[in-house]
C-alpha cells in the first residue's frame, strides 16, 4: 500500500431488509481481515453500517426493487472508509428532526430518526451527500495500518505458543 486508497470490498445488495445482516457480516469480516481493531471498534462500525443500510433500504421502498444498494470498504494508511450509496429518493439534511433532550418526555415521540445521530457518534468522520438521484453516506474510521502491510505473523506472541509440545506431538515423540 503506497498511501493511495485501496478497495477492500465491493458489495451490492437488493434493497430488502433481510440483506442488511449480510452487509454487516461482509463488512465486519473484511475489516477484521485487514486491520487490527478492537472488537468494540468493529462493533461500532458494524452498527453505523447497519444504520446507513437501513436508511438506504427505506429510501428504496417507493422505488424499483431492481435497484441496488452499493457498499464499499476502502483503506489507506490511516483510515478505513465505508461507503453506502443508494439510488432512493434522497433527503434534505436541513430537514432532519432535532430530538428533544432525553429528560424531556416528548423525547419518546421520536421512534425514528435515531440512525443518523448514532452514525455520527460511532465513526470518526461522516459525510452525507443527497439529491434526487440518491444518498451517499461516507463513514471514516481512523485506525492503524493494515495487517497485510505489517505482516500478520509479527502480531503473534511467539513466546506464548507451546510450539515445542506441538512439534513433539506432530513427530510422534
Amino acid at each position: 500500500m503506497d498511501g493511495s486508497p485501496e478497495t477492500v470490498l465491493c458489495l451490492e445488495i437488493p434493497p430488502r431488509a433481510e440483506f442488511v445482516a449480510v452487509a454487516r457480516l461482509a463488512v465486519s469480516t473484511a475489516v477484521k481481515s485487514r486491520r487490527l481493531l478492537a472488537d468494540d471498534r468493529v462493533a461500532d462500525l458494524t452498527l453505523a453500517l447497519s444504520e446507513a443500510c437501513t436508511n438506504a433500504i427505506e429510501a428504496h421502498y417507493a422505488k424499483d426493487e431492481a435497484d441496488r444498494v452499493s457498499i464499499r470498504v476502502d483503506e489507506d494508511d490511516e483510515r478505513l472508509v465505508v461507503t453506502v450509496q443508494d439510488s432512493g429518493s434522497g433527503f434534505d439534511l436541513m430537514d432532519l428532526p432535532t430530538h428533544p433532550a432525553v429528560t424531556d418526555p416528548n423525547r419518546l415521540n421520536f421512534e425514528r430518526g435515531l440512525g443518523i445521530p448514532i452514525i455520527r457518534t460511532l465513526v470518526d468522520e461522516v459525510t452525507f451527500t443527497s439529491d434526487d438521484g440518491g444518498t451517499k453516506v461516507t463513514m471514516v474510521l481512523r485506525c492503524p495500518p493494515s495487517l497485510v502491510e505489517n505482516g500478520a505473523v509479527a502480531l503473534i506472541d511467539l513466546d506464548a505458543l507451546d510450539i515445542d509440545a506441538a512439534w513433539d506431538d506432530e513427530s510422534g515423540q
Partner: protein, 108 residues
C-alpha cells in the same frame, strides 16, 4: 423469541439473535399483541441479543409508550455492554428502566 407469563402481572419476552430492520417487526407484532391482550407490565429480556440497532430501539420505544399509555410499562433486562451502549449513546438508558436480571425486573 419466547414469551413467559408465569410471573403475573409481568409478561417476559425473551429476545434472541439480531434485532434490525428485518427482525424488529416480529418484536413489534408481539408487543402489540400483548398490549392488545391486556398485558400492562412487559419485560423485554435482551440478554441473548447479539445485535440491536435503531430499528429495534424504535420498536421498544413504541412498546413503552403504548404500555405507559395503558398505565403499564415496558422494562428491559440487559447487562451486555455492547447492547447497553446503544441505549447510552441515544440517551435512552434514561428513558427505560433497565434491570440486570429478569428476577429483579419482575420484583419491580
Amino acid at each position: 423469541m419466547e414469551v413467559d407469563d408465569t410471573s403475573p402481572p409481568f409478561v417476559v419476552i425473551v429476545v434472541r439473535g439480531e434485532v434490525d430492520i428485518a427482525t424488529a417487526p416480529k418484536l413489534r407484532e408481539k408487543l402489540v399483541e400483548l398490549a392488545s391482550g391486556g398485558a400492562k407490565q412487559v419485560v423485554v429480556d435482551l440478554e441473548a441479543v447479539e445485535f440491536l440497532d435503531s430499528t429495534g430501539l424504535g420498536v421498544l420505544i413504541g412498546g413503552m409508550k403504548r404500555l405507559r399509555g395503558l398505565e403499564g410499562d415496558l422494562t428491559l433486562v440487559c447487562t451486555q455492554p455492547r447492547i447497553l451502549k446503544v441505549f447510552e449513546i441515544t440517551g435512552l438508558n434514561r428513558a427505560f428502566t433497565i434491570y440486570e436480571t429478569v428476577d429483579a425486573a419482575v420484583a419491580g
